[in-house]
Each structure stands twice: as structure tokens, then as C-alpha cells.
Subunit: 143 residues, 2 copies
DNA sequence: TTCTCAATTTAGAATAATTCCAATTACAAC
DNA sequence: GTTGTAATTGGAATTATTCTAAATTGAGAA
């Protein structure tokens, strides 16, 4: 197992932004940090609250801007369920979601390559999927 | 193959509403008919336009009310993708969706029971799914 | 038939999430 | 330092949807 160092994450962040000709500003960096620190799928509002602990004067508009930028740079994924506010997570590996209907909590279910292939086999010929979105809901009974 | 008669659909509609102590009004019936007539996943706005051909003075609020009622009665499914307006469809059999990124068109992909079981096998133990939502997006290349 | 009353419909106001806009601020390159 | 573009900001605007309170409907009672 291998967990990225703070430094290598910082490099990745800088690199992905610079690749697109964008600046790694402190607002963007702070929004990204907040998502890495607690991986619980916060909404923009929740991100605002957390980021303000470091940057008390950041605006909601900026949080939305930063999140959009991070999504465009493939640093963060935007997660939508039903019509509830968008949630954001830094898990870039292919995964499904499970929402516990009791607690509202969202779990990432990482998928193996063969599982993804299995999913794509559900497609009739003529359909070419670039993306998929898979969300389960029900009750989670965890240790 | 077997296609339901207009009458049996009418009965189903009346029954499901009466089961819940609700009235099969002309507005509700008309909204349901519109969904059955063209199964292309219209939004509430689009449903409004279509229903007004029969009931010119129906309001948008009523269309929303009717759609909600039909969903509650399990006559219609509400389909959400990203943060776009909710879409509605009368296909109650378990299915996934495919959205063509070129045309925006949405296709139903009906799933067999074994395929649904396959999907549920993606869940680690402790997760009990009552529902799932599976949407692919990409390009459709159809005859 | 007429009356009654709860269910339904309706128009418009309210809400919530998000995007837009125009004015400032920040910062990299010269 | 100056300049120029990118980024941030507060507030207004937009969009989908829900809420509200008044009017209408229709089924059953009298």
C-alpha cells in the first residue's frame, strides 16, 4: 500500500493547474486541501465553512469557482444525487456510491477494472460509454 | 410479446390512485397519458406544453403536483442526471440510462434480473441496496 | 337536487442552488 | 515599478422547484 505524501499531492495540484494555464492560488489550494482532509463529500456551503477557518474572507462565489476549476482540472469529482446540492470528493479512482437512507452518509465503493468492464457489458452494441454514474441507496449495516 | 391495451393502462392508473385514496382527476390522467404517448423523458416544462394541447389552462404548479403524485403512486419514474431539470418516464421495469453527449437524447437500457444481481454483487457486505441509479454517457451510434 | 366539505387546482410569491456581472485585487512578466 | 491578465468578490440574476392561500371541483349526504 502506498499513501501519497503531502508534497506529491501539492505537486500534482500545481501541475494540473499549470497544465491548463491556471494559477495555483491560495483559495484554490485551500479548497483542495479541505477536500483532502475530510473525505465526506461536502457541498459547496460546507466547503465554504471549512475553508473560512483558514481564509475567513473567502466568498461563496469563489468557492464555486474553485470547485469548478478543480473539477475541470480533474483534481476533484462532482457528485450529484437526485436534485440535492452537488457534493465534491477528491477520490479520482473509478468508484460507485452508496447512500445510507437512514444517516444520509455517502460511501465510496471503489471498483476494480474487471468490475468496470462488467458494467460496460450492460451496454448494447452501438452504445459507447465514456462515463458512468452508479449510486446505490439503502441501509448500511457496518461494524 | 404483449402490449397493454389502453383500457388496462387506464385501470392501472385508476387503481393505483384509488389505492392511496387519491382522485384520478383529468389533470393527473392527462399528464400520465402524455408520458405514455411519447416516451422521451420530458421535463416538467415539456410536459406542461404537451398537456396544454388537451388542457390549455393547466398550470405548471399542477403539472409538478401531478408528476409528484404519479411518482408516489409508482406510475412514473423521476430521472435525475447531474443537476439538470428532472425528467419523467413511465418505464417501471428496472433499467439503466444512456445519455448521448452529442444529441442529449436519453435511452432506456432494460436490465435482466441476472444483470441486476450482478450489479448488487458490487456491494461489499454490510451494504443493503433497495435502489440503484445507473447512467452511462458517451456517444450512441445507432442504425 | 342541492348542500357540504375535503381534495385538487391555480397564480403568484418564496426558496434554494448556482451562475452571472462588473468592480476590485493580486501577481507574474516585462 | 508598471502593466496586463487572471482571479476574487459581493451582490444581482437565473432556474428549477416548492409553498401558500384562494378558488374550484366533485363525491357523497341530506
Amino acid at each position: 500500500m502506498h499513501s501519497k505524501t503531502a508534497d506529491s499531492l501539492q505537486n500534482k495540484f500545481n501541475q494540473k493547474l499549470l497544465d491548463k494555464g491556471l494559477r495555483p492560488t491560495k483559495q484554490r489550494s485551500c479548497v483542495y486541501d479541505v477536500l483532502l482532509q475530510k473525505k465526506d463529500h461536502p457541498t459547496a456551503d460546507e466547503v465554504l465553512v471549512r475553508v473560512r477557518k483558514k481564509l475567513p474572507s473567502i466568498s461563496l462565489a469563489t468557492v464555486y469557482n474553485c470547485l469548478e476549476t478543480l473539477v475541470d482540472c480533474s483534481l476533484v469529482k462532482q457528485v450529484n444525487m437526485d436534485r440535492s446540492p452537488s457534493k465534491y470528493c477528491p477520490n479520482l479512482t473509478p468508484h460507485a456510491h452508496f447512500r445510507c437512507s437512514k444517516t444520509g452518509r455517502i460511501y465510496d465503493l471503489n471498483l476494480q477494472e474487471d468490475e468496470i468492464n462488467q458494467l460496460k457489458e450492460l451496454l448494447p452494441s452501438g452504445f459507447n460509454a465514456e462515463n458512468f454514474d452508479l449510486t446505490f441507496s439503502g441501509s448500511a449495516n457496518l461494524p
